[in-house]
Symmetry: C2
Subunit: 496 residues, 2 copies
């Protein structure tokens, strides 16, 4: 006989990779939830079958619309429920009769509201259990399953395929973070807004992700955790093989009230929760933005095996600031031996800093940054490299070329075109070289672009084990590196 855990995992596997979906409450009235979800799924190019269900329509988005689920002539793996709260029990009954495996209940007005809502929530759980329909939500903003090309949230963010799974108890926070993931180029294996977690809890999702081969990193935004002991036991186990990055919201008195009314249950004592996570070596994030920046690095770079950092910078001030940040975050910036000073010095004017940070004093020698990084990374005195201002310079060059052309309309367009191309090519070469070094030496290289690049934080490199990670500011690079070093220190014995 199948154990419940295996059944749960099998059902979630179907829910996140459905061959067909029903959209109960689909609409084409702009701004309605039924329209937001349906149009997103269609526009994003979901490859399975889509069956809108709504008695008021015959057709929408060029698809036939069914009055009831029962009328759909084919089998349905997953249903989205977007009808008023009081109709949800009936819809779930029909889902069960149709053999639907799981339902994402977008509708709100359940446990997060009042006693009547809590009663209604208990009722739908009962129906789900009786009819064998697993319920995601209710009161969820939806799910994103990039490998199934299934983008089913109200906000139309389209993060790329990747290895980061993200479970959020807050829908609007989750929506924003998937939007940031898209902007920053962070690849997701899955996003689930877990909503009120009436039936499937964050611990259940962890158990699913533990065995999901596409997921290597797990990020969680939590406001309250039911069955705290089971959660911590599961998270501790999963974190040993797949780093878990968690943000616990609702730390203050005022906030416990806000969190309670927001998801319909009480948040636990945050200090105890965070302490327990820390003990388990789970990565505590302090801010939503950190969930992203940490995910980018953990999913793209090798872990540092210690806290010693080599810094390579195009200009002195940023080296100073970065070394200060290392010191504030428990990382060290060791002095480098004469042999390395000499090797790097071959590419720099005589008055360079002759130390770590390596200040490239604005050199235009294209080999200098690459030699500096290689000399540092192959030295056993550092565990990680931070490199500032090389990637990102491209955008400075573009601004410059535009301005130069304004100053002197006679400037040769061929020359400007060549410079533009050279600059872009150099950036690509550099990023690819850094990935090669990471593979050879198994040490992370974190980049700082110093500018808001259009290309995002993560630069995927097909065929390479690691990707480029280029943050805008040194503080982000340093803080992320410190967390990675701590994770390695606590968990290294368990990692393969």
């Amino acid at each position: 006989m199948e154990r419940p855990k295996d059944k749960l995992i099998a059902c979630l596997e179907t829910a996140f990779n459905p061959r067909s979906i029903a959209l109960v409450g689909a609409s084409n009235t702009f701004g309605k939830w039924g329209q937001l979800i349906t149009s997103n799924i269609i526009a994003a190019g979901y490859r399975g079958k889509v069956f809108p269900v709504n008695p008021g329509y015959k057709e929408m988005f060029g698809l036939p619309v069914f009055a009831r689920i029962a009328n759909i002539p084919e089998s349905v793996d997953l249903a989205f429920v977007i009808t008023p709260a009081n109709t949800v029990p009936g819809v779930l009954e029909e889902c069960g009769d149709k053999g639907v495996k799981a339902a994402v209940v977008i509708t709100s007005g359940f446990g997060e509201t009042d006693q009547a809502g809590r009663d209604l929530e208990r009722e739908i759980v009962k129906i789900g259990l009786e009819k064998g329909v697993y319920i995601i939500g209710p009161n969820t903003m939806g799910i994103i399953s990039p490998y199934a090309d299934l983008f089913a949230t109200g906000s139309h963010s389209r993060p790329r395929k990747g290895s980061v799974a993200f479970i959020s108890q807050s829908g609007n926070l989750g929506n924003q973070l998937t939007h940031w993931a898209e902007q920053q180029g962070i690849g997701l294996s899955l996003f689930v807004g877990s909503g009120n977690e009436a039936m499937i809890t964050c611990t259940d999702y962890l158990e699913y992700l533990e065995q999901d081969p596409k997921t290597r990193i797990i990020t969680l935004y939590l406001e309250n955790v039911s069955q705290g002991v089971r959660f911590l036991e599961t998270a501790t186990r999963v974190n040993r093989t797949k780093p878990i990055i968690v943000l616990k919201g609702g730390r203050t008195e005022a906030e416990r009230t806000a969190a309670a009314s927001h998801t319909g249950s009480m948040s636990g004592d945050d200090a105890i929760f965070r302490g327990a996570c820390r003990q388990a070596g789970i990565v505590n994030a302090g801010l939503p933005s950190e969930l992203l920046t940490l995910s980018a690095a953990f999913s793209s770079l090798p872990l540092p095996k210690g806290n010693r950092v080599g810094i390579v910078t195009l200009g002195g001030g940023w080296g100073v600031v970065t070394a200060d940040q290392c010191s504030d975050n428990g990382l060290t910036v060791p002095s480098i031996p004469d042999s390395i000073v000499e090797a790097i010095g071959l590419h720099l004017p005589p008055f360079w800093s002759r130390g770590n940070p390596v200040d490239l004093v604005g050199t235009r020698d294209p080999d200098a940054p690459i030699v500096a990084v290689e000399e540092l990374i192959k030295w056993d005195g550092v565990d990680a490299i931070i490199v500032l201002g090389i990637v990102g310079r491209n955008e400075v060059v573009h601004t410059l070329l535009h301005s130069v052309q304004e100053a002197d309309p006679d400037t040769s367009p061929e020359l400007l075109g060549q410079i533009k191309e050279m600059s872009r090519n150099y950036e690509d070469t550099f990023i690819s070289k850094m990935a090669e070094f990471m593979e050879t030496y198994e040490k992370p290289i974190i980049g700082v672009s110093l500018t808001r690049t259009e290309t995002g934080t993560v630069r995927p490199l097909p065929g390479r084990r690691y990707s480029g990670v280029y943050y805008q500011t040194p503080e982000t690079a340093v803080s992320v590196l410190a967390r990675m070093a701590a994770y390695h220190r606590d968990l290294a014995p368990n990692l393969k």
Copy 2:
């Protein structure tokens, strides 16, 4: 007789508002310093006269080129010196003979290098004093004087006119920060890369800015401070009327070495320096990015008169996170009286949070956010408002409209156009309404857009006393607000 301080101020006034400039070492070879500075000045539309000086050219950028300064047929207020280090003494002699008031010495290779460089630096100071030429630098990346339309740095950033002056001892950090200021819409009154400060120190610039009517906020990036006592006395005095935001780089041992080789002098004991600043109520920034975020708020918003915060959020999760951040930063989120709960509740569904943070539960009622902010700001129980997700929603709507059109090509383009316009207009109305509230109640409203808006952090509002400030993340808003409250607490008795 003119006192030296008055003479310094008069000379700097001329340097930052010159009627004519000479560019000694001007070039049109792409990438040379002489070309970067010259093309920037011309492309940015400086309105005074520009005289390139270079014996190797007859004409460049459509302008006649002079072999020597002496050949320029008109008077010259300011010279930029971009020739090799060993020629600089001679050039400065010629500047003196021509009656040039001040020289920006871009050239490096002075005190930041070796003993010969230090000797050369002493020599140019001697010449400057003898000949009455004030020297900015040497080893500076240049200056920006937006009100004179003078953009004279190697990076072609063009921040708008405003009230923030920025003095940086690091050129490359300064360049990057002026670039960020441009991106974020922060208006500058002046930028000076002070370089090696051979003759004019950061304290001198402070004295100039103290009396400069265009400057209301002063930001400093310092690595080392000569005459520490004089600096602190001056900064303490100036800070009473014009908030000073300072970042001190070079805090670690490794970094003191890096900072020394970078600007040619030793940095002081950072802990003592920061302690002294704190005692004087000067705003210590921990990071370069904070220099920008703090400048944006200090220059655009009224100061909060206490630490009690009202939070208005479009969705619950972000309210939770923001209240947590307030708690971590020494701000409180007080409970609101029933009368306010009732007034706001008229615009919200019955299951809203009924407290502070005010969770608008994703309402589309356009009045709800405005009513919520007004009810909170007029209450004497809060000193400041943070509002999340209203401004920024516009970009979400755009993504959505694009996606909807993909899903259903039959969607009426008129309808989509109307929605787009409504959304944009609402954002403008909201920002303007917030500025009106700030004027009426003299309390700051800090916005969080949650997205990377193209319009920047600061939204200037012609005719209004205050501007809109919309950061991407709540942590930025909260941390800035906490600094403003601390500044008010320490300095309020002195402010007009």
